[in-house]
Amino acid sequence: MTARARLGVPDLGVGVGLRVPHYGHVLREQPAVDFFEVISENFLVEGGKPRYHLARVLESYRVVPHGVSLGIAGPEPLDREYLKRLKRLLAEVKPPWLSDHFCWSGAGGAHVHDLLPIPYTKQAIERVVERAREVQDFLELRFALENTSSYLSYEASTFSEWAFISEIAERADIGLLLDVNNVYVSAYNHGFDPFEFIEQVPHERVVQIHLAGHTNLGAYIIDTHRGSVIDPVWDLYRRTIELTGSVSTLIEWDDEIPSFDVLMAETEKARAVRDRTLSGAPLEPVPRGVPTQTDASSEHEHGWRQGGPREIADGAAAK
């Protein structure tokens, strides 16, 4: 692991999203994972099992919280109570940064628990810049926003997604969490070249990278976080590392969660790609352009649902 800092945050190496089925294994076996990412909302509670397990994990590992409920672009103002609870969690976890998503999550007081796409307009940029600054100032911690997967685009958009998130990151002075799988999913769904996205964002602002599997339904891809990372996403990751240098990288797996050994194999693959790219070894050229259905190796039936903050319920029936 290198200690190179960007925007004041270190490269933590290659980590894994910590999920309930692995708590026992992680605490018992102490696997060699560089860091864990946790879903912030699962730990915005007063006590009980979630906080107990988090405290034990913190004894041995670096932990970075990743939010799914901020809804930074929504019609309503930021939820101050949510931010206060988040700040209390950060005081315990002491992470080097905190992240959430470029999205909105509800309107009219309702919360839909989804990462809904934003129209890429000037008005949306102004709103997200102002709120991202507010969040970063209030939490007194480097804040990063992640590009989401999306299944629709808006007539009103006047920017590309990469231009939109780049302008916000620069003007709000925040970090980017670059989800390489999400770039691929959106490229497939909207018909753009994912390499153009990767090459156009401000690389010095990328503080973390996400990698995950997805589900290709033919007409569109759903970001299920199910299955292994597919080869075209590994190619994108390699190109990302070429441009960004060493950046904390995380494997997400939220549906049909496998044994921890399978996750470890994915982290080792990420480490190998990262190390080889950073070593300057000659790399094979990869095909570019809009992803097609034949690129995708992960075909599944319907029945998906996107991973979210619900995991605390897995143990709710404990007796």
Binding site: G48, P75, T121, Q123, Y154, D314
Partner: protein, 237 residues
């Protein structure tokens, strides 16, 4: 322009919010979005077609996901209740519940907070008394799962506290549920009988018998005691 007209204009949603509100309106619809001319035209004004999908079909992905996510979350939280009802009545119950109580919290943990109250008012439910007890008991499990740790109260004193006052007068980590049947013992069978198929396996109803359950969170465990087995004594695990 009058002052009132000025105020009206200030309160109007801007262009960005008009788009988001149109989107949000589609998410809450119970059934698949119609591909009729009216909605298609409105959707075309907001959402781009993809070449493979129309604007309405792209909105439908999110609408379907909204219902799948929230229904699945409630099945996870209320396995006994969903098991008693089986697929059809459960789906009807949950659609009505989400209409009456749209999710408002940032966390799905809070999604079922009002479900026991809603179930109590749904007299059409089969085994209504059992459903009511199961919903209350399963919410108690949920609430103590991430409640702050505390030393449980003396069992005798706990039994004297009315159920509705237990949360505030006992401790945040304790819930008391008086049920008319052996609800906890029956719960594993009910949970396993829930199936997406219309005809799920049926469990025999538990015999009527007053049981008082005390759910207690201590350190990191949730435990449960019943009056039938422990004579109203709630003990640490």
């Amino acid at each position: 322009m009058t002052r009132l007209e000025d105020e009206d204009r200030a309160n109007e949603p801007n262009e960005l919010d008009r788009i988001l509100l149109f989107f949000a309106e589609q998410l809450g619809k119970r059934r698949a979005l119609p591909k009729d001319a009216a909605l298609s035209e409105r959707a075309r004004g907001v959402v781009c077609a993809s070449g493979r999908l129309s604007p309405v079909e792209r909105l439908e992905i999110y609408r379907e996901q909204f219902w799948l996510r929230h229904t699945a979350s409630l099945v996870e939280d209320f396995p006994g209740l969903s098991g008693i009802l089986g697929q059809g009545p459960w789906q009807t119950l949950i659609e009505g519940y989400l209409d009456a109580y749209p999710p408002r919290s940032f966390t799905l943990r809070d999604l079922g907070l009002d479900l026991p109250e809603y179930v109590a008012a749904q007299h059409w439910l089969p085994e209504h008394a059992l459903c009511r007890d199961m919903a209350r008991l399963e919410l108690a499990y949920l609430e103590i799962f991430d409640a702050p740790d505390a030393v449980p109260l003396d069992a005798a004193r706990l039994a004297e506290i009315p159920e509705e006052a237990c949360r505030t007068r006992a401790s945040l980590c304790t819930r008391r549920c008086a049920c008319s049947r052996s609800t906890t013992q029956w719960r594993p069978c009910a949970s396993s009988s829930f199936s997406p198929k219309p005809a799920g396996k049926k469990c025999p109803s538990p015999p009527p018998r007053l049981n008082i359950y005390c759910s207690i969170a201590t350190t990191y465990r949730c435990s449960i005691s019943s009056s039938a087995r422990a004579r109203t004594r709630c003990s640490r695990p």
